[in-house]
């Protein structure tokens, strides 16, 4: 998470709020291990990565929904193939769980 700080500080200096997404669990193969984190600002700009590109786009959508007050801080799961889950998956076939929350400084 520390590697995101320079970007987060820069964004906050411009008045942007920030959402943090952290990998909290993986099943099967996942490109990043638990603890990997990314940050998203109000413009949808990204720092860091949680999957090497597979789900980052969907995380930005989730983050913007949180900033818009349309969703609470919560766990989001990617990689299921059934209809209930997100259509976004991991190319490696694993399941990844992220905790996405507004950054409260």
């Amino acid at each position: 998470m520390k590697e995101l700080l320079d970007d987060i500080d820069r964004w906050r200096a411009t008045g942007s709020r920030v959402v943090i997404a952290r990998v909290v669990d993986i099943e099967g193969s996942g490109p990043r291990q638990p603890g990997a984190a990314m940050a998203v600002n109000e413009l949808g700009e990204v720092a860091g990565s949680v999957s090497g590109g597979c789900v980052e786009g969907a995380v930005v959508s989730e983050a913007l929904a949180i900033l818009a007050g349309e969703a609470p801080a919560r766990i989001v799961t990617f990689g299921y193939s059934d209809d209930e889950a997100f259509a976004v998956g991991l190319t490696c076939g694993g399941i990844i769980r992220l905790f996405i929350e507004p950054l409260d400084w």
Partner: protein
């Protein structure tokens, strides 16, 4: 509609201050709850190595449980997702409010550091690559003229002169990978006794297998314990048939990645 801030209570700020001060700490975040629980997703508590805490995730027996689990996470150095039922203390549950709570426990440790001993062609390449990979980079060379911002522009800390003094200034921790890439064996013999007992996460020494055999024998003769010598990777680096300084730097950093990421996975 306003966003409800996750109730972090300034815990992240404390986390950064602690890590900057060289402490290892665990951040516990409530990531999911069901039914009735005292705090909700986003609540955070910081657990220090001595067991003291900042912030709250609900108090009472659950926090005591988290302190114990945090100690295990710190020892293992890997984050963990845990889950408590808060139903029946008679069954060992840390609460009675009828809910269930999921917590993410994440260790935060001093920055993983690559400590480069010797700032020649290979040392410079290791500095550059290690920086690119996100390591904190310390570089030492006894020759001050080699440890300049021109020669090693990407190093976080540049040290020269006596190694003992340098180690005081930038200590080796259990998150430090020592890369010994000096110009000769005489220097290795002089420097290694100071480096070997310092508690580094790993230590590798450049040179042929024959050079290491000779170095090792000499060090053993001067009383360096066998277990310290056994811990040394020499020749340093994964075998990539590397030739150029940049290629050798890749093999050295590849070995460090393999070491860092190895270990128990659940």
């Amino acid at each position: 509609m306003a966003v409800t801030a996750a109730a972090g209570d300034g815990v992240l700020r404390e986390l950064l201050a602690a890590v900057d001060a060289g402490e290892s700490v665990v951040l516990a975040t409530v990531v999911g709850t069901s039914r009735s629980v005292p705090r909700h997703a986003g609540a955070k508590m910081l657990v220090r190595a001595d067991g003291t805490t900042s912030g709250t995730i609900g108090g009472g027996e659950m926090e005591a449980r988290v302190r114990a689990d945090a100690a295990a996470v710190l020892a293992e150095g890997r984050p963990r997702l845990i889950h408590y039922d808060l139903v029946d203390p008679g069954l060992g549950d840390p609460g009675v409010c009828g809910g269930e709570v999921h917590l993410f426990l994440e260790p935060h440790m001093p920055a993983a550091t690559v400590y480069v001993i010797g700032c020649g062609h290979i040392g410079s390449a290791v500095v550059e690559l290690a920086h690119w990979m996100g390591f904190r980079v310390v570089v030492f060379d006894d020759r001050p003229e080699l440890v300049t911002s021109e020669a090693a522009p990407l190093a976080d800390v540049r040290l020269s002169g006596e190694l003992a003094a340098a180690l005081q200034q930038a200590p080796i921790t259990d998150q430090t990978h020592v890369v010994v890439v000096t110009r000769n064996m005489a220097l290795d013999l002089q420097l290694l006794p100071l480096l070997l007992g310092a508690g580094a996460r790993s230590i590798g020494v450049m040179g042929s297998a024959r050079r290491w055999a000779a170095t090792r024998a000499e060090l053993a003769e001067h009383g360096v314990p066998a277990e310290q010598l056994d811990a040394v990777a020499s020749p340093i680096g994964l075998d990539l048939n590397a030739e150029t300084p940049q290629e050798i730097a890749v093999s050295i950093l590849a070995q460090i990645v393999a070491l860092r990421r190895a270990g128990p996975r659940d």
